[in-house]
Symmetry: C2
Subunit: 332 residues, 2 copies
């Protein structure tokens, strides 16, 4: 009984009280002066690109049993080898979510919105954190001028709504890739879907955008869609999937969205097709093109599914690419 947890101690005390004074003569158990804390810090981090301020606010992450066909063109054993090589747990998959806010000095912009406040309850706080972490960082979502969406998967658009299904960014213009809007809001395309998953993606896009009265601004690729923020088509993951380059002065960061999922698997093995890449071959070609560019230009990447704070450089390896996290700066 020399080391007991606080909980054990309390139980012990309750038992002792019930059994009468004689039991209280036991030696005092050793315990830490402070109980275990059990909480995590608010997951936000700020860095500058030129004079532009980028705030990464994690939405949390999902941890789930590795599906047999998680990578469509590689056997599960090989995926497990990749997990172990990356110091991850076998047969389990981890997918972090890292939306960002961008203050250019003239506009406060959010890029992608996480899995939504409702998901915070559903997941007991392991995901759906974006809105609370954004608030913890000092950013009032009512001050957001523009929300830019990269593509229409739920982990990117569900946070457009609050827990009551009302617009979460009440005063913001919502900008969506024109190609994504055209494809997913087309009832003809929806009627062609055969898989439950794809039917769900179409239905969820309608749920979210209908709640916004479909009041969005479609944007083309290759345009400066907000001050210093340029859209870059990176199709494959979805038909209109779009990345963004944020630039200020001579500095740049490539906000990739889902060019790769978790880089520990999909940057290191760029030929692997995750089952949620709608067109695996096109997604792979995009991935290789983008990552070759990041290596050649030594450009930082901000990756939606990278571990928080999701900011890295990319190196070429014998078999693919490797993410090298940008060191945390303890004072901006």
């Amino acid at each position: 009984m020399s080391e007991v947890s606080r909980r054990n101690l309390l139980t012990g005390a309750a038992v002792a009280a019930a059994m009468g004074p004689a039991m209280l003569a036991q030696p005092t158990p050793v315990m830490a002066a402070a109980p275990l804390a059990g909480n995590q810090s608010a997951g936000w981090y700020r860095y500058k690109v030129g004079t532009t301020e980028i705030t990464v606010a994690t939405d949390g992450r999902s941890v789930f049993k590795l599906p047999d066909t998680f990578v469509t063109n590689v056997p599960k054993d090989k995926v497990n080898e990749g997990l172990v090589a990356a110091h991850m747990e076998k047969d389990m998959m981890v997918i972090p979510y890292s939306p960002i806010a961008v203050n250019t000095g003239s506009k406060l912009v959010v890029i992608d919105t996480g899995t939504g406040e409702k998901n915070f309850e559903t997941t007991k706080g392991t995901a759906g954190q974006f809105h609370s972490n954004l608030k913890a960082s000092g950013i009032d979502r009512n001050n957001v001028d523009i929300v830019i969406i990269s593509h229409f998967h739920g982990d990117h658009i569900n946070g457009l709504l609050d827990a009551n299904n009302a617009p979460a960014f009440a005063n913001a213009e919502i900008m969506v890739p024109a190609a994504e809007w055209k494809y997913f809001m087309d009832d003809g395309e929806m009627s062609k879907q055969t898989s439950d998953r794809m039917k769900g993606v179409f239905a969820n896009a309608r749920r979210v955008f209908d709640a916004l009265k479909r009041k969005v601004t479609p944007y083309e690729d290759g345009k400066e869609i907000a001050p210093g923020i340029t859209s870059v088509a990176s199709y494959g993951h979805t038909p209109g999937h779009t990345s963004h380059i944020i630039s200020s002065g001579s500095s740049k960061v490539f906000v990739q969205a889902d060019v790769t999922n978790n880089p520990a698997l999909f940057a290191r093995n760029p030929g692997w097709h995750a089952f949620f890449d709608q067109d695996g071959a096109v997604a792979e070609a995009t991935r290789r093109k983008v990552y070759d560019m990041l290596v050649a230009e030594k450009m930082m990447v901000q990756g939606f599914h990278y571990p928080f704070p999701a900011n890295a450089y990319i190196e070429k390896t014998a078999s693919g690419y490797r993410e090298v996290p940008v060191p945390w700066n303890p004072s901006i």
Copy 2:
């Protein structure tokens, strides 16, 4: 004038006011609904090793011009190549500081203490953050039961004192490596020193420990010095430099202290001798032995001079080792 920074706007308004009412009819400049934030999150992060809770609370970092002889056995050009290879700035060195608190359930332990509260003012907040970040994490330093010191360099011991040079951990037992105490508190050893830097290390150790009335508990290596915390001699950086293994259940982490400095240079190039390695050859032998063990046992390392949160796995490379940060867990 469609996009101006807030500063420009204020200047413009001042100019307009000076020039009279006619100028005020200018169109309203566009600006972000929210000003730039300019602050960083409190740098703390929590993870578990078995049932033990580890809280990393960054002390900040130092950024300085690369000294010509920063690495004593490698020319500066080669060090610069190493910096560039690690995506760091040429001719500049960055040294982060990451002390930790460990709650074993029966004891609340701090391992190393950072550059001290006084350094917060000296560095305008870029270092000396440990005490404020520990507090932000919910840990009251008055509840700390034990402070374990790895070695007697200022960035590890100065935080034993508060801003008024009083004991910062008022209720804690202060444990120091017996070999380090014997060496640095020996006036004969002090009298042999010829360099200003080494004279300074001896004098600073006296300053700090005299303020504590030299009330410390020397500990030997290879012992369980607190519940689940074992001392491991890792001499070379200093004559009594000691690392620690924290274990709980089947989980372990190797708290290395200064077996390497910033791993981007000194894990990747284990043969490089940083000028503050008191015995470069012994420090290198220790480094290789420890890192080979970390690779073989796939053991996590917690590195005092690693970028926050300073928790990584180690891989062997053709020329040395490589740190692979453990992904951030957004909910403990």
